[in-house]
Subunit: 127 residues, 2 copies
């Protein structure tokens, strides 16, 4: 079991962010010690990692909330949760495609700079 400070060290996520996630219902069943201080177990850490992965792939807080609420409802929501993940997977794949598409434009620009630079080089040789 870890305190919030230890989890911060372990995950690199700031303590206020962990509290914020919990308040927003993104981290179910975080326990407290006798003094009311948070204690995180393995399962909490695994939730934190999962939520972090969802956030890093652009899922909004509100949608993660919805997902966690489904989780809390139990096994009857498994197919809906799976559907959410499948949809999100497609969105990630779209994001990746869009990034590649725009990366192409950057590469085109870089190719133009290569041409420009070699032309400027020739000019300075002429002088």
């Amino acid at each position: 079991m870890w305190t919030i400070g230890e989890v911060t060290e372990l995950t690199g996520i700031a303590a206020p962010t962990l509290r914020y996630y919990e308040k927003e219902g993104l981290l179910p069943h975080v326990k407290r010690n006798e003094n009311g201080k948070r204690l995180y177990d393995e399962e909490d850490l695994s939730w934190i990692h999962f939520v972090t992965a969802l956030r890093a792939t652009g899922m909004p807080i509100a949608q993660i909330q919805k997902y966690v609420n489904l989780y809390k409802e139990g096994d009857s929501t498994i197919s809906e949760r799976k559907r959410m993940m499948l949809l999100h997977k497609k969105e990630i794949e779209n994001s990746i495609r869009e990034l590649y598409f725009n990366l192409d434009k950057i590469n085109y620009k870089l190719a133009l700079y290569d041409v420009l630079e070699s032309q400027l080089e020739k000019t300075s040789i002429k002088i």
Copy 2:
């Protein structure tokens, strides 16, 4: 030459956003007609597409500003502009890598759901 409304139709970018980009110095040399209304030419459109590609790949407004300012300074800034684009290219490649990394976690979750569903299926057959 196109009006702002036509550019909005052509690009899908809202007119207020186009004005905002221009005000922030992201779109150099947009001309006006005799009544002070914006008129966009081919070069303006190409700037809009480029700025859109930079935004879609996560470059902040402030950095695009810096890039456009370098452009305005002329040929002497070509190598610095190229350096900026090379750096940004690497950031895009990092973003893509991170997306793939987190996509893996989503896929792992989806695999778990497949197992869970087949287990639940078996259970219901037993009943």
